[in-house]
């Protein structure tokens, strides 16, 4: 079943790509949340995952490689009425965009970041990604001789208020996590494990199916220390779920004098205010 308001058709993805499950689940979630397409802004950088916004019937911003986050947070800063969602890949999010990843977590702007993590560079045909497995564990052309990047651990250390992982092959789980992430007030990171059927022959659909499991029902997502420990668990067993979620003042809430509820695009300095400012230099 596909939500008709958001769904659009033609894509540049390989048949069987995990992105299909992600876009279908996302359009359904947006429909469930009763958002209308003109209230939603989907942002991507560059890469196969980043093209997602082009296949959804909503506002779309296809930016530069690695730079989806700065553009997204600024759009939200000037118009908080928009629901801003970033869909982009692991290379875009954690490699080229690494500095923006760190610092936008700290800003806690109320946006959602879906990082499609297939542990490989797909569009450039199979190079190592920051999240590729270590060569010792799964030797392949695209394994990591450097330490693999741990996005969840890094996000928690940087002060993220919502950190989760899901798997594109588990659509029910993915929908639940996506919905919680979009509803979360503040920056929400969801690392979405996703097979790349063309270039990653190790981390396949079957691989993720076998190695992933859901965090236990009794898991306390409000405990940072537990979240830090569990986010380091990545190997034979890969936990899925919301690792950490906490309510903290968002970027807008921390600046009540400026963000009084009226979107900033509807305001600017008046002539009287500017005259007063000029008066200070007399």
């Amino acid at each position: 079943m596909t939500d008709t308001a958001f769904y659009s058709t033609e894509t540049a993805w390989c048949p069987g790509c995990g992105n299909f499950d992600i876009v279908q689940t996302l359009t359904n979630v947006l429909g469930d949340l009763q958002l209308s397409p003109n209230q939603v802004l989907l942002v991507g950088g560059i890469g196969q995952a980043a093209k997602l916004n082009q296949y959804v019937n909503a506002n779309g911003f296809s930016g530069l490689h690695g730079r989806a986050l700065p553009a997204s947070v600024a759009a939200k800063m000037v118009n908080q009425a928009l629901t801003v969602i970033v869909d982009t890949g692991d290379g875009d999010s954690y490699g080229e965009g690494g500095n923006h990843f760190l610092h936008n977590i700290r800003r806690n702007v109320d946006i959602t970041h879906f990082a499609h993590d297939n542990q490989i560079y797909g569009l450039t045909k199979g190079q190592t990604s920051p999240t590729s497995d270590p060569c010792g564990v799964s030797p392949s052309g695209a394994c990591n001789l450097s330490k693999p990047f741990k996005p969840l651990l890094v996000a928690l250390a940087a002060g993220a208020t919502f950190v989760a992982r899901t798997f594109s092959g588990n659509k029910e789980h993915m929908a639940k996590i996506m919905k919680a992430a979009i509803l979360h007030k503040g920056y929400a990171l969801v690392d979405i494990l996703q097979p790349c059927i063309s270039f990653n022959k190790v981390n396949t659909f079957a691989y993720y199916k076998e190695h992933t499991y859901e965090l236990e029902a009794a898991y306390d997502a409000g405990n940072l220390e537990t979240a830090l420990l569990r986010s380091m668990e990545y190997g034979p067993k890969i936990p899925l779920g919301i690792f950490y979620q906490v309510e903290m003042p968002t970027y807008h809430q921390q600046r009540p004098a400026i963000y009084d509820g009226t979107p900033m695009i509807d305001k600017k300095a008046s002539v009287a205010q500017l005259e007063a400012l000029l008066g200070q230099f007399a």
Partner: protein, 561 residues
């Protein structure tokens, strides 16, 4: 009258100069005050130089009437510039032997006042007496500028300074009339606000940081979003995200930061996102001379980025020009949906100058809006092909229209395409915006003889000094003129061809080593300058520099005074 105050970083030169500027402003003088600071927090050698007159002054000059030396280094560095009848004000403890010296025991007077850091205010008191200015003007400015905690001790100190010497001159007392005392950075920021600025992002970098601090200070009152980005790449991508969402956006940086923004510049070009980029130039390449001045980013800003797209480059020429041109830049960026680059430099941004009142409404309406475009029928297309090249712009969320932009080549709807025909249509559509833009160009300002035999061309912050040199030379019997460019790219050419016709020789006068303006003129107008007068030691070209430099070309030398 030209006055220089020098000492080490941390001596309070900046504070003292700020107070003195306000006093002179209140006394009715026009002033031009420049700073020469090293990239350090303590030590070294810093100086401020204040030129003031009952008539407007637009640039600094070299020869000094008064030198206030806090230390020996100030004396050794600047005493050559002090006129034979000039006045050297310093503490006798420095052990300087110079007939121009007026010794005042600054240190002991400061101690008597109760605070060793009042030396600057003692100097101000002494100056008031020496120049025949009323002490009350100084006292009222101190009351205005100092915190109550520091006020009493400074009032004692200024009186001690006043009583420490005798009157040497009686300066005229001109009438002030609503003039402003502003730096080029302040007027640029004020102009941006007058032009409708709603979003500003930047990463701190000298000499552009004053813009960021100004905007941050006034953000709340001016309904402005100001964000200090994690780097310049983030700064420009934030501005583009804000611009897409419907805010008028600007970034400010210097050459090094602009280097990081270049990919974003091209993105603004292909995605047709309005943005203003202020480059407050300093000498490069790489880190270069962080706190000094140069005009060497001209060609870089004209041609930065891979690919081809319309852009505009404007150099601001003085503080008032920075106000009006920055406001205009925001409006042009919005009208043509292009990046507009505004060039300033350390000298202009940091120098304080007295100017006539600024007209906010004039600045806010300096560009006529495009005629309204009929709403597209059917589905909204962000990049609809139009005759002017400008497509109707919608704000996401403000209507049913879905707004889609792309850094890839795209079709009218804003989704990625590799279609050969669409590629040509889109390149041509973007290029068509230049036709409208060319009609908006402002010709360079001209100073000098009606049909000059010699023509000077310059741009940006050297304009006032060039104009002053031209006036001096014409008074000596030369036939000379100067064109001062503000709009640079696309290059306005009407005045250029008009004056070039009469001129036997044309010299470019530039604050760089490779004559970039001369190259731009050759490239765009197919005209070759005879030679160029260039300065690139990081210090601003003065009127004296220009006169001396032109003399080497045989201009103004043999002409009787």
């Amino acid at each position: 009258m030209n006055l220089c105050i020098g000492g080490a970083a941390g001596d309070g030169i900046e504070t003292m100069a700020g107070i003195l500027e306000k006093i002179l402003q209140r006394s009715g003088f026009y002033l031009f005050s420049m700073r020469d600071f090293m990239s350090r927090i303590r030590g070294g050698h810093n100086f401020a130089q204040i030129r003031f007159s009952p008539d407007p002054v637009g640039a600094h000059a070299d020869s000094l009437d008064i030198l206030i030396a806090y230390d020996m280094r100030t004396y050794t560095e600047h005493q050559r510039r002090l006129k034979p009848d000039g006045l050297l004000l310093c503490d006798p403890e420095l052990g300087i032997s110079d007939s121009r010296m007026l010794p005042i025991p600054l240190k002991s007077l400061a101690k008597e006042s109760g605070n060793a850091r009042t030396i600057g205010v003692i100097c101000i008191g002494a100056l008031m007496k020496l120049l025949g200015l009323p002490l009350t003007t100084a006292e009222s400015v101190l009351r205005e500028m100092l915190s109550p905690k520091l006020l009493d001790v400074n009032l004692v100190a200024v009186r001690k300074g006043f009583d420490s010497t005798v009157q040497k001159q009686q300066l005229p007392s001109p009438k002030a009339d609503g003039r402003l005392l502003v730096t080029g950075a302040e007027t640029m920021a004020l102009g941006a606000l007058a032009g409708g600025l709603q979003f500003y992002s930047a990463y701190p970098m000298s000499p552009s940081t004053t813009l960021l601090t100004f905007f941050a200070t006034h953000a709340e009152k001016c309904s402005l979003v100001v964000e200090q980005a994690e780097d310049e790449i983030a700064a420009i991508n934030m501005a583009l995200g804000a611009s897409y969402a419907g805010a008028q956006a600007m970034v400010g940086t210097s050459g090094g930061g602009f280097s990081l923004m270049v990919e974003g510049l091209g993105f603004a070009g292909i995605a047709e996102l309005p943005v203003v980029i202020a480059d407050i130039q300093r000498p490069g390449p790489a880190t270069g001379l962080p706190t000094r001045t140069e005009q060497s980013d001209l060609l870089f800003t004209c041609f930065a980025s891979q690919g081809e797209f319309p852009r505009m480059v404007i150099a601001v020429r003085d503080a008032a020009d920075a106000f009006y041109q920055t406001a205009r830049a925001l409006q042009l960026a919005k009208k043509y949906q292009i990046p507009v680059l505004v060039l300033s430099d350390q000298y202009l941004a940091d120098s304080a100058v007295t100017i006539a009142p600024l007209d906010i409404l004039k600045a806010a309406q300096s560009v006529s809006p495009l005629p309204p475009q009929a709403d597209a029928t059917g589905v909204y297309q962000r990049y609809a092909l139009t005759e002017s090249g400008v497509s109707p712009m919608r704000i996401p969320g403000k209507s049913d229209a879905l707004v889609r932009i792309d850094s890839d080549e795209h079709g009218e709807g804003g989704t990625i395409t590799e279609d050969a025909q669409v590629r040509i249509q889109m390149v041509d559509k973007r290029a068509r915006k230049l036709e409208g833009l060319t009609n908006e160009l402002l010709e360079p300002a001209y100073t000098g003889a009606a049909e000059p035999q010699m023509l000077l061309v310059g741009f940006g912050s050297t304009s006032a000094a060039i104009a002053e040199a031209v006036t001096l030379l014409n008074n000596r019997g030369c036939s000379i003129g100067a064109l001062a460019f503000g709009d640079l790219y696309p290059l306005p050419q009407k005045q250029l061809t008009r004056y070039w016709k009469h001129a036997k020789a044309v010299y470019s006068v530039e604050q760089n080593a490779t004559a970039q303006l001369a190259k731009l003129i050759r490239m765009e107008a197919n005209l070759n300058c005879t030679d160029s007068l260039l300065k690139y030691n990081g210090r601003q070209m003065s009127v004296d520099d220009i006169l001396t430099g032109l003399e080497a070309f045989g201009i103004g030398k043999e002409v009787p005074v």
